[in-house]
Symmetry: C2
Subunit: 165 residues, 2 copies
DNA sequence: CACCTGACTTGACTAAATAGTAGTCAGCCA
DNA sequence: TGGCTGACTACTATTTAGTCAAGTCAGGTG
């Protein structure tokens, strides 16, 4: 059995979650187009036409996504001006947006391993400078790797009591 | 600027991806219901009615998701038999399914930090036994933490040449 | 000042995900 | 053997995502 529950959560039959962070995250950013826009932003793209060209998503959807993601605080709009052009806006990741990088690259890592051919997909994450391969995974604050079997879930905050239904 | 590109990828204007692993992953599992079913599976749920009860998703959708996810190889169906009942099937995560745990818990971690109130959501990941907090993030093979600014992308496999359009 | 361009916006439509309800069907039990 | 239960399957409706084409509009250029 993967993963264990500790404390009041130990008996899985006595509680159920209705404000699950995974569900909320998926509601906020759980579409292909959101993820591709975020991918591009992590790749350094900031301008509308670059998002459109590099994601191959239509301009209407890119515009809608940038608006949504800006509304929920993943991007900020900064005015910029190219000589001889009028003022436009570029879309810069906020901390909230940047904090998504483990999620986005975990999907890339999984896709590389399981949805591509033998070669494992076109792109790899490495550390800048050293070129060492980079892996997205779980570890403790003190730096130990943790795999699924060694994970546990604990209740946190005021939501500490099980409630059944 | 977050993240850098190395080698042939250095000039972002000369290439574009059309077999991106992030896009493929989202096509395979990029729905709220898939993620919630996977969450439950990581929590140890294996049986149909438990998935239905614990996710609050309707039985029709759970059945569809379990079928999809089994078809693409994230679950296997194993027959089981309770005394006095007929044979049913339980849904067990395959390696391909288990490999998604960084992606799923990265979403949880992000949601805890950015989509919940002050308390940061109801559940926390810790290491079994020690109770140490667990974080999903990037690190090198040799165990060093890497953050976004120190990441780089390199081309891999036969897809090594830029192609523009 | 008419024209053009880039960055969106709008609208019409298709496709996919989700919700809710109503079957189906294998087999245990009376 | 006829009903009951649990695990699905099928159907309809609604909502959301995505495609495509056309329209808007600020402002710089000829």
């Amino acid at each position: 059995m993967p993963l264990s529950f500790e404390g009041v959560l130990a008996d899985r039959s006595t509680w159920r979650l209705d404000n699950c962070s995974i569900g909320r995250s998926m509601e906020a950013i759980g579409t292909r187009s959101s993820m591709l826009v975020l991918r591009e932003a992590f790749y350094g793209t900031t301008r509308f036409d670059d998002f459109v060209r590099r994601t191959k998503i239509g301009d209407a959807i890119v515009a809608a996504r940038l608006k949504d993601l800006t509304d929920i605080g993943l991007f900020t709009k900064q005015p910029y001006r190219e000589p001889g052009k009028r003022t436009r806006y570029e879309y810069l990741l906020t901390e909230k947006g940047r904090d998504l990088f483990p999620a986005v690259f975990a999907l890339m890592q999984w896709g590389n391993k399981h949805l591509q051919g033998e070669d494992g997909g076109p792109l790899r994450l490495v550390e800048q400078g050293t070129g060492e391969p980079v892996v997205i995974g779980a570890r403790t604050a003190s730096g130990r790797d943790v795999d699924l079997e060694d994970l546990a879930i604990v209740a946190h905050g005021d939501w500490a009591g099980p409630q059944s239904d």
